[in-house]
């Protein structure tokens, strides 16, 4: 039986991808950011997940304004890195897991989550930066990846409650897959940042850390945070944190924190990173 063994949250700032691609991860600016991922790189070498369900948002790369799916799941064989305006990142192709992806897609639809199915697309920094942060620079990615793209750009974006519930449904779907697979779920994006308008540059260390606290243990309070609170407290792009709730929802009633890292700033953004494991209640 397939099982979700860990949940990882991480920012996915494009500049981190550039730092990796240009070999700058140890310099004065990036060193403290990447240092907080060393623990996780070792963890991943031990855990060797078979599949990562990678929750992210597309930043006007695979989807333009022609089609805006709220929740979309990648069921394809493989995905190439997108050209975001300065050439594609030089990273390995991302290998999918169509069997598990289609199983999850079907299960979710029967569970009343009306998913969009994607068979072909390119993946942008939202997906490839977390892979680089957790796996470094291998010749090929050590795990299969199921992309799960969430609209967090055009409003209304899905509510926190809906994201959490989708995570719960993903948890049930994975458990009903007969093959013995070690599956992780990653929630990416955030933390506080605003990339637009005169208020750009907003960061909120205190709120971000309170949010991380709420993903640990048995509280589900975070699912009720309203969109306006993310915008007021963490900036317009802080709304990406609803994607962390899909990861958290998939881990079940209770979690334990294995690793935690926070750093300000990376370009315009606060970097947050959590490694959680599901913990049986009681």
């Amino acid at each position: 039986m397939a099982r979700i063994t860990a949940g990882i949250a991480s920012s996915h700032v494009p500049l981190l991808g550039m730092a990796v691609d240009q070999g700058k991860t140890g310099d004065d600016y990036f060193g403290p950011i990447f240092a907080g991922y060393e623990w996780t790189k070792d963890f991943e070498k031990q855990e060797k997940p078979d599949v990562v369900i990678l929750v992210y948002n597309d930043h006007a790369s695979a989807f333009d304004m022609k089609i805006v799916p709220t929740f979309a799941i990648g069921c394809g064989e493989s995905y190439k890195s997108a050209d975001e305006g300065f050439g594609p990142r030089p990273v390995p192709d991302v290998e999918g897991h169509p069997d598990l992806a289609w199983h999850i897609a079907q299960s979710l639809i029967l569970d009343e989550f009306d998913m969009t199915i994607i068979n072909e697309m390119e993946v942008d920094h939202g997906l490839t930066v977390p892979l680089s942060m957790m796996f470094g620079t291998p010749d090929e990615w050590p795990a299969r990846v199921i992309p799960l793209a969430v609209n967090v750009v055009t409003y209304p974006v899905p509510s926190g409650n809906r994201c959490w519930a989708l995570g719960e449904a993903i948890g049930r779907a994975v458990e009903s897959f007969p093959e013995d697979l070690n599956v992780q779920i990653w929630g990416t994006g955030g933390m506080s940042h605003q990339l637009q308008g005169p208020r750009a540059g907003l960061l909120n260390r205190e709120w971000d850390n309170k949010f991380m606290d709420l993903l640990i243990g048995d509280t589900d309070e975070a699912r009720w945070i309203e969109h306006i609170e993310y915008i007021r407290e963490t900036g317009t792009e802080g709304i990406e944190m609803v994607m962390w709730l899909i990861m958290r929802g998939a881990l079940g009633k209770k979690t334990r924190c294995l690793h935690r890292h926070y750093h300000i700033p990376c370009s315009n953004t606060a970097i947050g990173h959590l490694v959680l494991e599901p913990k049986p209640a009681g």
Partner: protein, 139 residues
């Protein structure tokens, strides 16, 4: 943090987004208004389009169904004006990349700071949410 409730009033939901200082939330109304601006910016993901744009920006923009005001704002790289016209930063970022600018530099151009001061603000912990959460509530 907040009480448990579902969003039932779409008007109240949308109205609160207009209460955040210096911010244009990308609502459906803005997405409709800025559709062609965003699709035009998006076209710069293709290298051949980037080359044509760089060779003659004005001519490239003439090919798109844009207002003269929007064309001028793109030529001026006036990102605040483009946000007002329904542009979204993730689409506009294709122009930023085409210019070879860092995201932070383009973002700083929308604020009261020059790039150096903006970087210094970020290094010092970023802009505080204090006083810029709500126009009406002034908190």
């Amino acid at each position: 943090m907040t009480e448990r409730k579902r969003i039932t009033d779409i008007h109240a939901y949308l109205e609160q987004f207009e209460d955040v200082p210096g911010t244009r939330v990308f609502t459906a109304a803005r997405a409709r208004k800025g559709y062609h601006i965003n699709q035009c910016a998006m076209s710069l993901m293709k290298p051949e389009n980037r080359e044509r744009f760089k060779a003659d920006e004005r001519a490239y923009l003439e090919e798109w169904n844009l207002s003269e005001e929007a064309r001028q704002a793109i030529l001026d790289r006036d990102y605040n004006a483009l946000l007002d016209m329904g542009g979204n930063i993730y689409f506009l970022s294709k122009i930023i990349s085409t210019d070879g600018l860092s995201f932070a530099e383009a973002v700083s151009s929308m604020t009261e700071h020059n790039f150096e001061d903006y970087k210094a603000m970020m290094a010092a912990g970023g802009r505080s949410p204090e006083g810029v959460r709500s126009i009406k509530g002034k908190y």
